[in-house]
């Protein structure tokens, strides 16, 4: 167990470095952007640029003329204290307040669809790799690949138009109905699920093929291993071999992909959120970028990065749990 602890700590060390790299990038990119946020806000609201007002505003936004390195230190310090600063576009709201609810919705929607898509895709991949001669294997991969070849937002828009607007099977947007009160109550939960259904379905539809193919390919490699031949020779039942011997091993490399995908999905939900007016953080990010709201932008980028890192670490733990070879 010492070995696995060692492994986990080493991974953790790596994630710290990755987090630091992301934070640093996060610090410098906005500062390289042209334009002064205070001036931009004034321009947006057609105010007059009087130096006193600008300076007063810059001060309240925390934009100082301190040397970059000094700013960098205080930036790192405040992040460690959980202070992400004050949003410029939503002034004077602290960034953490803005992000928190958005992050939850994104994690709910993206996590929900990722888990379904991963489980379903892996299951389908297992089955089609096992039943190689079946119709499923010759039709499913190309069909899903073709569906997945469409630009995601394109499919989502068409789906929203057909199923949301024309047929009215699904709501046109938002995370829950206007007639329910957020909280732990059945109407709200049902409403949230109902509102997540169409966005989730579109996300699942485009990502399913990828999971299926990757599982299928690993399964095929696994099916060529000696322990599968040996299991066959043992006269074990098909199902047992497929699940306990083949899929159980083949899923391990896919876990790593799952961790990576979580990052993609969290940030990739951006398009979903825009198309389905879903109150997640992807759209918030786009808005922050457009409004040059550095603190919000940084906060979002940071939370996404941290979520991805945390997810990857959990995947590491899961792999440790599922793959005895990683714990010595």
């Amino acid at each position: 167990m010492n070995q696995s602890l060692n492994y986990l700590l080493r991974r953790l060390g790596f994630y710290f470095i990755a987090a630091w790299a992301a934070l640093t990038l996060n610090f410098f990119i906005p500062r390289l952007m042209p334009g002064d946020p205070a001036a931009i806000i004034f321009a947006r609201f057609r105010g007059k640029l009087k130096p006193e007002a600008i300076n007063a505003l810059r001060e309240t936004f925390g934009l100082t003329d301190e040397p970059l390195l000094g700013q960098y230190w205080s930036y790192l310090k405040s992040i460690l204290q959980g202070d992400l600063g004050i949003s410029i576009a939503y002034f004077p709201e602290p960034v953490t307040n803005i992000i928190s609810s958005a992050l939850l919705w994104t994690i709910f929607l993206a996590g929900f669809s990722l888990i379904i898509s991963f489980s379903l895709g892996t299951l389908l991949g297992t089955i089609i790799a096992w039943k190689r001669s079946g119709k499923l294997d010759s039709t499913l991969p190309p069909v899903l690949a073709f569906v997945g070849a469409f630009p995601y937002f394109w499919l989502a828009m068409v789906a929203l138009y057909i199923f949301g607007f024309e047929l009215s099977w699904f709501p046109l947007g938002h995370a829950y109905g206007d007639d329910v009160t957020p909280g732990f109550n059945m109407p709200f939960i049902l409403s949230a699920l109902y509102h997540a259904a169409l966005p989730a379905l579109t996300m699942i539809l485009v990502s399913l093929g990828g999971w299926m193919l990757s599982m299928r390919n690993i399964m095929i490699t696994t099916l060529g291993t000696d322990y599968i031949s040996f299991a066959h020779a043992k006269g074990l039942s098909s199902r047992l071999i497929m699940l306990r011997y083949a899929a159980r091993n083949a899923i391990l490399p896919n876990f790593t992909g799952f961790g990576m995908a979580l990052g993609f999905v969290l940030s990739g939900a951006l398009l979903t959120e825009i198309i389905f007016s879903y109150p997640g953080q992807g759209y918030l990010l786009l808005q922050a970028v457009r409004a040059q709201d550095f603190p919000l932008m940084q906060g979002l980028f940071m939370t996404i990065t941290f979520a991805v890192l945390a997810a990857n670490w959990m995947v590491d733990i899961a792999v440790l749990f599922f793959d005895p070879r990683t714990r010595k």
């Binding site: 931009i40 806000i41 640029l49 939503y90 004077p92 709201e93 609810s101 929203l160 938002h174």
Partner: protein, 542 residues
């Protein structure tokens, strides 16, 4: 999957939002999640619509349709001591929503908060104000440092906050005012979720019997496309969104109830010409560019024919009353006349080569970049048409898009050649012409200038501006504006493209008495505060 099935079934029943009709559902600002901020003084403008005109109210409201200031919290005003003192008579009997009486003290307090916190003084009122004093419960005296009559607008349209609440606030700049106390028709926050909030009636509103509707409902919509879908599905009653092909997309789906009104605002969108550019400094080139542009096509392609080509004077629509009677004697420089454009360019010494492109005397290609904000699709489309038009007269113009931040920074610093952009707006054309031709805001290239991005000034205009600022006499004002118009046409400091419309749609299925072309008591667009207060108090349940 079973859950999905249930949900789908459940969904079929609930096509339209039945509960919604207890209130008016409004879209004004693109958002994906609401942040609770009701600070009417907020410098970043981050406060929720309709904080500044709805929860809080100004002293006067300028009605762009009638071109008049309508008394609101104030009843009247008068200039005194050679226009150096402004006195306002404050309405009696107004109460704050918490029941406290409203008085001139609150007005003076509001201005003095802005004086103390300069970050709040976004319109630079204290650049000309010396003192604001409540003379009695109903009289406020504004004392000016210098005579500056146009300053009236900023003072009259300021939203007034309650002294008894705000004098306890340490930092009004950062205060988010979660539970506002105002004088407006709607003041009570009934519900505030990240994707929806509801605003209820002010129990103590001073206009008896108003407002008519119980509450306002604000759902989040991130894009115009979403707004359109919501409008079509009946989930929005009033919106200020741009909808392309609005007759086909929106009206045709329910001609009885789906209404829109895109009236002209009187202002103009310009193709700014940087007059510090050695070539563009030549008025012939600027006018040639203007003649080369087929504004009808620009309006059709870029603006879906929602507006009209720019007037020679740069003002139109409700501002047309300012048009000089002598305009027909002036040059009609905003018509499409490529022949004249070519003539002017030949005249200026830019000759065409065999490919039809023009060159400068020293052999450089006559080419410009038109810079636009990326994502501002109507302008990009317009610029594309302009670019093609200019090509026809031998000028190569490339459309370049920049992020808003980069774009505004280039505009302010004068680092552009051609750009589509707005110009100064005011209640009279004075603001436009001052932005166009005054040396007051002129900055060298590289320095930030908030107006006069094209960097043009003319001395004769400067003296007219000084005259204007000192007078409150209507006849004098009109005369000055005529002269400014003539100067504008003569010098062509920047090229007007098309009149600026406002966007507004409404659904009259549940509500009536929205403004319209037939009943233009105000503009319909919710985007124009405080004018939208007229709508808020006049709309009724059907």
């Amino acid at each position: 999957m079973v859950a999905f099935g249930l949900i789908v079934f459940n969904g079929c029943k609930n096509k339209e939002n039945q509960n919604a009709r207890r209130g008016l559902i409004i879209f004004q600002e693109s958002q994906i999640s609401w942040v609770r901020n009701f600070n009417p003084l907020s410098p970043a403008g981050a406060a929720r619509w309709p904080t500044s005109a709805g929860i809080y109210e100004p002293l006067f409201i300028y009605n762009s349709m009638s071109g008049e200031y309508v008394p609101w919290l104030a009843l009247d005003y008068k200039w005194d001591k050679g226009n150096k003192v402004l006195e306002m008579l404050i309405r009696d009997g107004v109460k704050w929503s918490d029941g406290e009486p409203f008085s001139a003290e609150d007005v003076a307090f509001t201005f003095n908060v802005k004086r103390k916190h300069r970050a709040l003084d976004t319109r630079d009122s204290w650049g000309y104000l010396k003192e604001v004093i409540a003379m009695s419960d109903t009289i406020v005296k504004f004392e000016f440092k210098r005579i500056y009559v146009p300053g009236f607008d900023a003072l009259a349209t300021q939203s007034i906050v309650a002294k008894h609440i705000w004098d306890k606030i340490d930092d009004p700049v950062k205060y988010s005012n979660p539970n506002p106390v105002g004088t407006g028709p709607y003041t009570e926050i009934i519900r505030f979720d990240s994707q929806l909030w509801e605003l209820g009636k002010n129990p103590n509103y001073w206009q008896k019997g108003k407002p008519h509707i119980n509450k306002l409902i604000f759902p989040t919509y991130p894009s115009n496309e979403q707004v359109t879908l919501a409008l079509l599905s009946g989930n929005l009653d009033w919106a200020g969104a741009f909808i392309p092909a609005v007759d086909r997309v929106f009206v045709s789906k329910d001609t009885e109830h789906h209404k829109y009104w895109f009236p002209l605002t009187g202002h103009t969108t310009f193709l700014h010409t940087n007059t510090q550019d050695p070539i563009l400094s030549d008025v012939r080139v600027r006018k040639a560019i203007s003649y080369a542009i087929d504004r009808e096509l620009v309006v059709k392609v870029g603006m879906y024919n929602y507006t009209e080509p720019a007037h020679v004077s740069g003002v139109s629509g409700p501002m047309s009353k300012w048009h000089s009677p002598y305009l027909n004697q002036r040059e009609d420089w905003t018509v499409y006349d490529p022949v004249k454009a070519n003539m002017l360019l030949n005249d200026a010494g830019f000759n065409k080569d065999e490919t039809g492109l023009r060159h400068t005397q020293d052999g450089h290609l006559l080419e410009f970049d038109i810079i636009i904000v990326s994502g501002w699709s109507d302008w990009i489309r317009s610029a594309q048409v302009v670019s093609q038009n200019l090509k026809n007269v031998g000028i190569k113009a490339k459309v370049k898009t920049y992020d808003f931040g980069a774009w505004i920074s280039r505009m302010q610093k004068g680092e552009f050649e051609l750009a589509i952009g707005w110009a100064e707006k005011g209640t009279t054309p004075y603001a436009l012409y001052r932005g166009m031709m005054s040396s007051e805001y002129l900055q060298p290239i590289g320095e930030t200038a908030d107006v006069n991005w094209h960097r043009f000034s003319v001395a004769s205009a400067d003296s007219l501006f000084r005259e204007y600022e000192r007078t409150s006499d209507q006849n004098e004002i009109t005369e000055i504006i005529y002269k400014l118009q003539h100067l504008f046409i003569e010098h062509a400091p920047s090229v007007p493209l098309f009149a600026e419309p406002s966007w507004a749609e409404c659904n009259t299925k549940y509500f009536k008495n929205f403004p319209s072309a037939e009943n233009p008591y105000a503009t319909l667009s919710p985007n124009y505060a405080p004018e939208n207060l007229f709508v808020l108090v006049n709309v009724q349940n059907r």
